[in-house]
């Protein structure tokens, strides 16, 4: 009995070890497939189909808009597989290491606009020149979007998908309460041409409404002002000018005034409190890029149904947008380039807008009915195609630099967030932000 007891225990231990071992092995096996890496993609399966992998971040939307399915239907010999990493902060460093080692890459890799300058400056020798691929027409794209995806020596390594022209989304019920107009034309006219007028409207709003703020947070005001200027953190020669550029300080000061005047709900973007603010009516306005409309609708839900509308921003401004690249190390780069060209063509971008509200970077799409006549039911049937096309065409070609993301992040999340939420003195917070940026840029 005793012996049997022992052997059975041994058997259990053995079984457990074996199970662990098998689990580990299985884990490895799955992993090696996971990145949809170049090893896999080179192969054709039994039916002679070619698999193209696409690496994206977040809920990118190309798949959700049904574009892959359409392409596979039109090209029966192609299979498209997508891998997605939730946050760009995690996606981008991995993309850099994969590019450096030339392995683990998907055939098509998406790049966010804040990283595009670094990609074109440091990685263009590892990416295909998509400007020469048949079906790609420079004239289809917004000039500045095309320029952002091209390296200094004129190689176009990234094709634009969407852009983030901004409007101002506002709550009609709160505007009415404040005695302000609610019609989107008149609302847009309140602050047309000057961000300071936006501040004045806010002060006027505050005298009438006590239980809601005018904007969601001071940082978004700052980002919106910075997004409407040609110069931001870099000048034309590629030098950093964030300390001296008057526009940067102007945006900072204006945002700080919003905080000082108590017009901000002190919320940070993409946090749970911010999300619930859309439904609860914690703030009356927010500068909203086209792609945010779907987000507001999701978060506002039934509670805020019929309360939101969208008007033109004081000045045309851009927030966000993405690109597609094709790494040279991919095994199917010719087929991948064809797909990238197709995905960014005006017809597909129009469909992308109709399904996902991601605004096309192909200006040739603006005349297509899906864009031109687009209305958004949740925003009181606002003619969003018209509003955002106007904003996109008016946005100046912003000079981007490799460290745009880090500078913007530190200005907002280290600097302005303190002013907004902790009440830090704006000058002290500015110094702290500058110190933090200097430290981040110092190699």
């Amino acid at each position: 009995m005793r012996m049997r007891h022992r052997t059975s225990r041994q058997a259990v231990v053995l079984a457990a070890v074996a199970a662990l071992g098998v689990g580990l092995l299985a884990g490895c096996a799955e992993d090696s497939k996971e990145p949809g890496g170049s090893g896999d993609s080179g192969k054709k399966d039994a039916k002679g189909k070619t698999t193209i992998t696409v690496g994206v971040f977040g809920a990118f939307g190309l798949k959700e808009a049904g574009l892959y399915d359409q392409y596979m239907k039109e090209n029966p010999n192609i299979v498209i597989e997508q891998t997605s990493v939730e946050r760009n902060e995690n996606y981008y460093p991995a993309l850099l290491t994969h590019l450096a080692s030339g392995s683990g890459l998907a055939d098509i890799q998406a790049v966010e606009v804040n990283n595009i300058a670094e990609i074109t400056a440091t990685q263009s020798d590892k990416l295909m020149d998509l400007g020469k691929v048949s079906g790609v027409d420079k004239n289809n794209f917004l000039d500045w979007k095309w320029a952002q995806g091209s390296s200094k020596d004129g190689k176009t390594v990234a094709l634009g998908t969407d852009v983030g022209p901004q409007g101002i989304c506002y709550r009609k019920d709160l505007f009415q309460k404040a005695g302000l107009p609610t019609d989107r034309e008149k609302v847009g006219a309140l602050w047309a041409g000057d961000w300071n007028k936006y501040l004045e409207v806010g002060k006027q709003f505050k005298t009438k409404v006590k239980d809601a703020a005018f904007v969601d947070g001071a940082q978004n005001v700052m980002a919106a002002v910075h997004g409407s200027s040609e110069n931001r953190f870099y000048d034309k020669s590629g030098e950093v000018i964030y300390k001296t550029n008057p526009v940067v300080k102007e945006g900072w000061n204006l945002a700080a005034e919003f905080a000082a005047a108590g017009l901000s709900a002190k919320l940070q973007s993409f946090t749970p409190a911010w999300d619930s603010g859309f439904a609860n009516g914690d703030f009356a306005t927010i500068s909203c890029p086209a792609w945010m409309l779907g987000y507001i609708k999701d978060k506002g839900g039934d509670t805020a149904e019929g309360k939101w509308d969208v008007a033109a921003a004081p000045k045309p401004s851009n927030w966000g947008g993405s690109f597609l690249t094709v790494p040279e190390a991919g095994k199917n780069k010719e087929e991948a380039a064809k797909l990238a060209a197709w995905l960014t063509a005006p017809e597909q971008q129009a469909k992308f807008f109709a399904e996902r509200a991601s605004f096309p970077s192909a200006k040739a799409a603006y005349d297509l009915p899906e864009v031109k006549d687009a209305k958004h039911a949740y925003f009181g049937n606002a003619p969003i195609g018209e509003i955002f096309a106007k904003a996109a065409e008016g946005t100046p070609v912003q000079i981007l630099g490799p460290k745009d993301l880090i500078i913007a992040q530190n200005l907002a999340d280290v600097g302005m967030l303190q002013v907004d939420q902790k009440g830090t003195d704006p000058d002290a917070a500015w110094d702290k932000a500058m110190k933090s940026i200097d430290n981040a840029l110092d190699q």
Binding site: E89, S276, Q421, K422, K432, Q443
Partner: protein
């Protein structure tokens, strides 16, 4: 233990009792095979433990030692994540600049304060809980599993719940404080409040684990000690202080070492406690730990060389802590010997 003696003792007795029938001297062949067998047996005893340990050391080489050395090498260079194969020799500049790097010192200070705020209450509470669990309880098994459950939850899940609890506008803790007339506290933005909040996550997750370790040690304290103490008229408290605590000394030291290592490497909780999971540790870096600063330098600012230097600095700090612990342990042992 008793079982083993019984099973091994029985056959020996049998062998001794039974008279041997075959007395013929063993043939040369058998002798050879016998020596071969005994040699194999000796080799088995000698080398199998190493063979069994080998897989661990192979993995350690690949995933422990190699990264450690490579990180050391990278820390002497300027390396960017945009081009990691291109290293520019810097010597010890990445280390000397740490001395003047206010963000590094801030992170070190935060690591120490959060470490103290989380470790001390955690171990004290664990001792108390272990003491309670040591009493004869109905369903003690249930309580033991219950105290261990926080340890089994993931950092991410636990932290997300705590973020909600410590929320400024709709958080449950502020709601509770509001009931007793205290205004909403902005937990995340204050220096002490945010560090307390982060510490509370660590405490919640690790107290039960330490309690079980203490409990195991308590159960190995012989009952006679308590009985004789009781005979001498010692109260429960006196028993705890004069019998339990001294017997637990090595265990307490062990949990201190493990908690210190954990506190030095604290990463997941402060990362996820910050909105948007950015590694700045709040708008004023008020709860940025060394682990977060390392991550920010390497994966946000893309300076792999600087991040490697921070990693090595952390490693050296841990060695220092280990040395101090060893000294304390030696001193304790000596003073015990004297007493």
């Amino acid at each position: 233990m008793v079982n083993q003696y019984e099973t091994t003792a029985a056959p020996r007795g049998e062998g001794a009792a039974a008279p041997r029938v075959d007395k013929a001297p063993p043939s040369a062949k058998e002798l050879k095979s016998r020596t071969w067998r005994s040699r194999r047996y000796r080799w088995d005893m000698k080398f199998s433990p190493y063979a069994m340990l080998l897989p661990f050391f192979l993995f350690f080489l690949a995933f422990g030692l190699f990264p450690l050395l490579y990180t050391g090498w990278a820390s002497l260079h300027r390396v960017s994540l945009t081009d990691p194969n291109n290293m520019e020799w810097l010597g010890f500049k990445n280390f000397t600049r740490l001395l003047e790097d206010e963000f590094f010192w801030n992170a070190l200070k935060n690591t120490v304060t959060i470490g103290l705020l989380s470790t001390v209450p955690q171990l004290v509470m664990a001792l108390g809980i272990a003491h309670l669990l040591n009493y004869k309880l109905r369903g003690s098994w249930f309580f033991r599993v219950a105290v261990l459950t926080p340890y089994a939850t993931s950092v991410a899940a636990a932290t997300l719940v705590f973020v909600l609890l410590f929320g400024r506008d709709y958080g449950m803790i502020n709601w509770g404080l509001g009931l007793v007339g205290i205004d909403n506290i902005d937990w995340k933005n204050g220096t002490w409040t945010s560090q307390l909040a982060v510490s509370s996550i660590v405490i919640w997750r690790w107290t039960g684990y330490n309690a079980l370790i203490y409990l195991a040690a308590m159960q190995s304290i012989p009952n006679d000690l308590y009985e004789s103490a009781a005979l001498d008229g010692a109260t429960r408290w006196q028993q705890f202080f004069h019998v339990t605590l001294p017997s637990l000394r090595p265990t307490i030291l062990f949990t201190c070492v493990v908690s210190t290592i954990g506190a030095t490497q604290l990463f997941g909780e402060p990362l996820l406690f910050n909105d948007g999971a950015s590694p700045t540790g709040g708008p004023d870096h008020q709860f940025q730990t060394l682990g977060l600063y390392l991550y920010e330098q390497g994966w946000v600012n893309l300076h792999l060389g600087r991040a490697s230097a921070i990693a090595w600095a952390m490693f050296l700090i841990l060695l220092l802590v280990a040395a101090v612990n060893w000294l304390i342990a030696r001193w304790l042992r000596k003073s015990e010997g004297r007493a």
